[in-house]
């Protein structure tokens, strides 16, 4: 039997090394570190015996674990999975309502099965899960449309409003024109 050797190494690494923490040594042997860090650790391992021994032991454990071997899948596994899948599909079809079957038949015959079914599925899901939001949005939309349709301002009133606005503008323009020019600082400083 292949042996898993117990090797005694100095147990002087209670404190973490500057470069390599213990977790990173495992990641190092799994090649899960970025290139620059691997390079740093490789250089560190040349100098630090404790870490080098640690890596060696971890590697040894990993190699040993890989010898565990695999179990073989029984011959009928795939067939039994596919049989169960067929049963699931049949069960799902039986659960489908008559309307769903008719709609599917029509969609398949028209050749637009994926988009329409996806759309209707999404719509149904949204209505089921977010019905309060949908109802409030729909209510708001209906009220807005009704309001816009019913509001019809008369032509005369509208014309008067425009005329009033124009005169207001003119008045304000005149007021601005009639303001006295600001006196400059020099006019105050001039000797009387």
């Amino acid at each position: 039997m292949e042996t898993y050797k117990r090797v005694e190494f100095p147990d002087a690494h209670n404190s973490e090394c500057e470069i390599a923490s213990r977790d990173e040594l495992s990641a190092y042997i799994d090649k899960e570190l970025p290139a620059w860090k691997r390079h740093l650790i490789r250089r560190h391992l040349k100098k630090c015996d404790v870490c080098a021994n640690d890596v060696q032991r971890l590697q040894h454990t990993d190699n040993f674990l890989r010898h565990a071997g695999d179990v073989d899948v029984s011959d009928g596994f795939l067939d039994s999975v596919m049989t169960r899948v067929c049963e699931v599909v049949q069960h799902q079809r039986q659960q489908e309502s008559l309307w769903t079957r008719i709609r599917r038949g029509v969609e398949v015959s028209l050749g637009w099965l994926p988009p329409l079914s996806t759309l209707s599925g999404k719509l149904r899901y949204n209505i089921r899960t977010r019905s309060p939001v949908y109802i409030s949005i729909l209510t708001f939309a209906v009220f807005t449309m009704v309001g816009v349709t019913l509001y019809q301002p008369s032509g005369d009133k509208f014309g008067e409003e425009v005329r009033e606005l124009d005169s207001e503008k003119l008045i304000s323009f005149e007021v601005i024109q009639q303001e006295p020019p600001k006196r400059l600082l020099t006019t105050y400083l001039q000797p009387k």
Partner: protein, 194 residues
Amino acid sequence: MFVSDEDLMMKCRKGDRGAFELLVRRYQNPLINYIHRFIDDYHRAEDLSQETFLRVFKSASRYKPTASFKSWLYTIATNLCRNEVRNRSRRNTCFLEELVEEGEDVYHTEIMRDTRYLPDVLLEKKEQRQIIRKALTQLPDNQRIALTLVTYQDLRYEEVAEILGCSVGAVKALIHRARQKMKKLLIKAGIGES
């Protein structure tokens, strides 16, 4: 031509059973081995593998190609295994370790002592595998999952982090601790101490 798992899954979403069969062929072996290492029961591992594939098929419509299929598959399998272990503990199903009296080494059982005298290489290999499997079952769940996925399923740390729902740093720590503990357990098992 090689078709990626994600493409096969997209075909499967559209009801292509051939694509699903190809996925089962690809993953049946690694999946059964993964579950077997987790729960240490071959027949139950087959059942759970079937259940995993069925769940994949049923929830194919919810699959989004942004997620890796492999991670998704192993996440489903891991959840099933966790449930199995939980149910076992509720039913008080005894593991081999639990049958051994407290303080006694699990590997020094009658079985191990008997096989020691068998010269056949195959049997020795089998014994070695058995010891490793038993040692794996002694690890805490997360450590076992992380170590099994990295060592035997060749998953990246990121994928393991996704499956366990933790950070990559946490996966690093889990794997390191798992290796350290395995080392101690294997030495304790006394297999060929020199």
